[in-house]
């Protein structure tokens, strides 16, 4: 820290050394955040782990008590939990891959220069910032079998004879909620990839052009490799976020019909809100946390080799 050496010019006779004061100030500045996160994240997580070791069903207060790993043992035998894990993967994979594809196309389109680009960009990014409940309700209305727009459109186009109840049919419900999530998530990838595209120097393209590379070749050999870091980061963030995200499904189907859209995070909510089984809900959330931590570690290992472009 050569720079700090030039600063080390004592003003008055300090009680502590400059260095010590610096460190102290640093901790002092961190203090509010430490308190805020301590009270709203750290303590609750410790509490959740503790709760997961208790039998704690609100409607059966007389059964409250420490049961060790009893809730975790129950988890292993719980078919719905395993189903929810499988559904979670379906939900995450379906959502993120389609969001990525859609977002990539959108980013390529928005990267071109045309009149009214700013306006188009703002409008197409809107689905991403509106509240999750709003997204869920808008789509619930579109999917409504009797007076929703989707069935009406399909019928008018002659593609459908019988009304389809999108969210009531177990094999359609998951694709339907994924489609909703895709609508919401495309802008996220669009924004990220657009930023990545804008960071690629035009000279690279020009040079390739001079060398006679076609549009596709340029895309394959310049655009994709240059975007790789941001793709990794954006996809990983999105996977984690989608895995944890419960609002959409919670509002649209509550995991139904017949658990067809039950993902692990909504199953946790169901245990807490409907069964009022806080011990088991805590257990599920701890498992969710462990899965996410494992994924995060993996992600950090993978991204260590990926250097930023900007």
């Amino acid at each position: 820290m050569a720079r700090e050496a030039t600063l080390a010019r004592p003003l008055a006779r300090p009680l502590l050394t400059r260095r010590a004061r610096e460190v102290l100030t640093g901790y002092l500045y961190l203090l509010p955040v430490v308190i805020a996160l301590g009270a709203t994240v750290v303590v609750p997580i410790v509490r959740a782990i503790q709760m997961s070791l208790y039998r704690n069903v609100l409607i059966k207060p007389q059964e409250y008590g420490f049961i060790g790993l009893g809730n975790y043992a129950r988890l292993l035998d719980d078919d719905v939990f395993w189903l929810s894990l499988w559904n979670s993967f379906y939900w995450v994979f379906g959502s993120v891959s389609l969001q990525f594809l859609g977002g990539f196309v959108a980013a390529l389109l928005l990267h071109q220069s045309f009149q009214g680009r700013a306006a188009v960009r703002t409008l197409t990014l809107l689905p991403w910032i509106i509240p999750g409940v709003v997204v869920a309700l808008i789509w619930e209305y579109l999917y409504q079998p009797n007076y929703g727009a989707l069935n009406d459109l399909l019928a008018r186009a002659g593609l459908m004879t019988d009304k389809v109840a999108w969210l009531s049919n177990p094999s359609l419900a998951m694709p339907a909620v994924i489609a909703t999530n895709v609508w919401r998530g495309v802008p996220f990838f669009a924004i990220m990839l657009l930023a990545g595209l804008q960071a690629i120097a035009d000279e690279l393209y020009e040079a390739a052009r001079v060398d006679g590379a076609g549009v596709l070749e340029r895309f394959w050999h310049i655009t994709l490799p240059m975007l790789r870091p941001i793709i990794v980061v954006a996809t990983a963030t999105r996977i984690i976020w989608t895995f944890n995200y419960a609002d959409l499904i919670f509002v649209m189907t509550s995991g139904g019909p017949a658990n067809a859209t039950q993902i692990t995070s909504t199953y946790t909510l169901l245990q807490a809100y409907s069964n009022l089984d806080f011990g088991y809900a805590a257990t599920l959330s701890v498992v969710l946390l462990l899965i996410m931590l494992a994924f995060t570690l993996l992600y950090l290992r993978v991204t260590r080799g990926v250097e930023p472009v900007a």
Binding site: I59, N146, A165, P170, P257, N259, S274, L276
Partner: protein, 435 residues
């Protein structure tokens, strides 16, 4: 960097810092930034939770509370409206936290659960001294009696019947449902009344919520099935039950006389479906008759009892909407006064009449407003064979029916489980939660 630009930034930041400091200071005590809570002084407040906030009921309950508040000056009832879907969870959470309302309007099948939590008190002695005790139907008292103790007031009672469209039956040439119709007549009606091209379906089956299972159970009872056998063990997975359930599920699975949204149609779904003309019949209690008078007009629909099954039996489950006081309530005396007042003939009549529910008091139920109304005929005619819901037998069943029974039933609906498999799994859930 432009100096002026930086100056203005600094001002903004100063403003933000000031706002931040202000907020931080305020956080500690600031509760109500805009509208200060209206508090009633003088009278002791009584918190009353009401769980079906549909516009008509809201206005009615508000006016009832107002009338009670004017009738005496010791207590002031404050109504808290909670959507039905959240009512049970909210009550249980507040009980666990020690802050339940003084009185809540809840369904009889929840009371056992509250009793399990030791949250309600034995009202038997108080109720026996109450002037109207003998005027309330014994069957109504039975719905709120758990382990031989009366825990609530049965405010209004009702049972299930079939709503059907008189005008469209004539139009489509369907044989009108009669009081003694059977399963075959039911299916024939539903088939004739299904017009997919007009977006109309013969029967609005319920696939969501506790009553989805209850309605199906009524059909099983019509074939001689029982939830509990004579030995007190769960007997719902019998041959009779499976046959009847198969027949019932086929309405949706095979005959397609139900709208495709059945697996997610709850109370809201079936009532709206009929009200908007999408379905031409549905099973429900009398509680939606007043709404349907607005939606489809009184002259266009009627009600009949549920059909006879192959075993020449039939049933309709009787239940009550109760007024339940809580032990941990702060104004227990005021709560009891309010409940007793709400059971007085006039408020009782007003509430029942406006909602199309049947009064629990005999003298009120005998008024012509109830006995002569065709929209209520199906329910009144069902009284002779109505029974208290068999699922009230065990307190532990109340919640499980909803959280485990319904998803299983939905799986049967969509063909992932056969009727038999559903009943076996369902019986297992019930057996595990007998308490």
């Amino acid at each position: 960097m432009d100096e002026r630009w930086r100056l203005s930034r600094r001002q903004i930041l100063k403003g933000m810092a000031a706002a931040g400091a202000l907020t931080t200071a305020e956080l500690a005590w600031w509760d109500e930034p805009l509208i200060a809570p209206r508090r009633a002084w003088g009278a002791q407040p009584v918190r009353f939770q009401f769980s079906v906030p549909e516009p008509k009921r809201t206005a009615l309950v508000e006016s009832l509370a107002q009338r009670f508040n004017q009738s005496q000056k010791d207590f002031e009832v404050k109504v808290e409206f909670v959507p039905q879907a959240q009512a049970r969870q909210k009550l249980i959470t507040s009980i666990a936290a020690g802050t339940p309302p003084d009185v809540a309007q809840v369904w009889d099948n929840w009371v056992g659960e509250f009793d399990g939590m030791n949250a309600v008190e034995d009202l038997t002695p108080k109720v026996r001294d109450w002037s109207g005790y003998k005027d309330v139907l014994p069957l109504a008292w039975e719905t709120v009696t758990v382990k031989k103790r009366i825990l609530s007031f049965p405010w209004v009672v009702t049972n299930d019947g079939v709503y059907w469209r008189t005008d469209r039956a004539k139009e489509y040439g369907a044989k009108p449902p009669k009081d003694d119709w059977n399963f075959d007549d039911f299916l024939a009606y539903a088939k004739t009344m299904t017009k997919p091209d007009k977006n109309q379906y013969g029967f609005g089956m319920r696939g969501q919520g506790t009553w989805a299972v209850l309605y199906a159970t009524e059909f099983m009872y019509a074939n001689g099935a029982q939830v509990l056998g004579k030995d007190g063990k769960v007997a719902i997975n019998s041959k009779e039950a499976a046959e009847a359930l198969d027949w019932y599920l086929d309405l949706f699975r095979k005959h397609k006389v139900c709208p495709p949204s059945v697996p997610t149609d709850g109370w809201r779904g079936i009532v709206e479906g009929f009200g908007r003309g999408v379905t031409n019949s549905y099973i429900h209690n009398s509680g939606s008759s007043e709404e349907q008078k607005d939606f489809v007009k009184p002259e266009n629909f009627a009600t009949v009892p549920l059909p006879f099954g192959p075993a020449k039996k039939r049933s309709s489950f009787y239940f009550s909407e109760t007024l339940t006081p809580f032990k941990a309530g702060k104004a227990r005396e005021g709560g009891f006064k309010f409940m007793a007042w709400a059971m007085e003939p006039e408020p009782h009549f007003m509430y029942s009449k406006a909602l199309g529910l049947l009064p629990a008091r005999k003298t009120v139920a005998e008024r012509p407003e109830f006995t002569r109304d065709p929209a209520l005929a199906g329910f009144i005619k069902s009284f002779p064979f109505s029974i208290v819901s068999p699922y009230l037998a065990h307190a532990g069943w109340g919640g499980k029916l909803d959280s485990e029974g319904v998803p299983l039933f939905q799986q049967a609906l969509v063909g992932r489980l056969t009727a038999r498999e559903f009943l076996d799994k369902f019986a297992e859930v019930l057996s595990k939660n007998m308490s």
